[in-house]
């Protein structure tokens, strides 16, 4: 019976493939070990690993962090825990940027190597008996096959890398990096940076949002969402000329209906009637079902001027 259980457990849990690959073929440009010893530690109280891990990430990025205050902002009493979405939003409410990490273990190690701890969600239990837990990855040692975490009540938890991979995989490889606005984690992909910027725009002042979109555009100059974000936050900051330039750039580069719509709206406000009319016509021409109503609306407004 025990043998059967043992085999079943093996089959159910599978192999830690990423750890195995990293240990057998360590990337040539990745140092084999790193540890961010100066990362602060906040010991968790009762179910408060979310606020504690968030405080660690924030403090490491140079923000003042108090787990008790964060607890009020992210802890959900009825669930005796913290939702992933609220961890991200909680970081934003402190004026920080929270960027999702890719699902590769190697990306996490590279981020740590670059000096940024990674807040991770682990399922310490099994998929059918979950034990959700937030911790912060602060170090690794490929040769020893270990990772180092700030976790729960343990300041320096050493965990086998493959165990970490199993527990992290069971959370859907979920993790994020906290950084000051304008600085992006080296491993973040375009989609994650767009999501982080768009979320940041909601909590920040228009001027802060402008700076964040500019910093993201420096890496992905062609992203439509980032260009639109720049235009919208310039507009919100009162710089209508700047906003028009950003929308025009996006509209021409992508032939995007929302960019033409916003360009036409701003030009109407600026009193550039003929340019506004031309932009509104482009908006109608570029529109699919999602934007047709809005484009027709802006065309009517432009014609009335």
């Amino acid at each position: 019976m025990w043998t059967a259980l043992f085999l079943w457990v093996l089959a159910a849990t599978g192999c830690a493939v990423q750890t195995q690959a990293l240990r057998e073929h360590p990337p040539a440009d990745l140092p084999h070990k790193a540890e961010l010893e100066s990362t602060p530690f906040f010991a968790q109280t009762a179910y408060q690993c979310g606020p504690a891990a968030l405080a660690t990430g924030l403090a490491a990025a140079g923000f003042t962090a108090d787990p008790a205050v964060l607890g009020e902002q992210v802890f959900l009493p009825a669930r005796t825990g913290t939702l992933q979405v609220e961890m991200i939003a909680g970081a934003r409410r402190q004026g920080a940027i929270a960027t999702r990490m890719p699902v590769q273990l190697e990306a996490l190690l590279r981020e740590v190597q670059a000096g940024r701890p990674v807040v991770v969600l682990q399922n310490l239990g099994l998929s059918w008996a979950p034990l959700w837990h937030y911790a912060v990855l602060v170090g690794y040692d490929i040769d020893e096959g270990e990772v180092i975490l700030r976790s729960g009540k343990t300041r320096r938890q050493v965990m086998a890398m493959r165990t970490f991979e199993h527990t992290w995989k069971r959370s859907g490889h979920w993790g994020f990096v906290v950084s000051p606005p304008g600085q992006w984690p080296s491993q973040a992909d375009e989609k994650a940076v767009i999501e982080a910027s768009v979320g940041f725009e909601r909590s920040a002042t228009p001027q802060q949002a402008v700076a964040v979109f500019r910093s993201a555009l420096a890496r992905w100059p062609e992203s439509l969402s980032l260009q639109m974000g720049l235009g919208n936050s310039l507009y919100a900051a009162g710089d209508k000329r700047g906003a028009a330039d950003a929308f025009r750039f996006a509209a021409r580069l992508h032939g995007s209906a929302p960019a033409w719509i916003n360009l036409a709206s701003v030009l109407i406000e600026l009193g550039d009637s003929s340019d506004a009319l031309a932009a509104a016509k482009e908006a109608v021409a570029a529109s699919d079902d999602d934007w047709r109503g809005k484009a027709a609306e802006v065309l009517r407004a432009a014609e009335e001027k």
């Binding site: 009825a78 979405v85 939003a89 979950p130 165990t163 199993h166």
Partner: protein, 134 residues
Amino acid sequence: MKRSTRWIASLLAACLTFTGFAQGAMAAGLVSTEQVAATEGVKSATAQREHLNATLSRADVAAALAERGVSVDQARARVAALTDDEVATVANTLDTAPAGASDVLGVIVTIFIVLLITDILGFTKVFPFTRSIR
């Protein structure tokens, strides 16, 4: 009891709806960045449809958070910090999404043995006293 909670919740939802969420609202009818990001393939088609109901679900989600032990002011501030897409996620998974908490006491005896074995094998890390084989 149940009935009065429900009543309070709906009252709360109504209040929150009327106070509204001014934050993030664009003047002059500009298309918001969130809407563009949603159509640019960053979000699924379902998320886009949910986007339309976001204003309504904001009040609902705030009320739901308040029902789950968050103070009314905090609930409102917390929802205001979420993007429309995140609001939709919370609205749909409030009681099912992982909520990081970690407490060994929650583990019932019947699965104690299994988790002990998986801990030792290094697949899980439930118990502080286990040392997994490398």
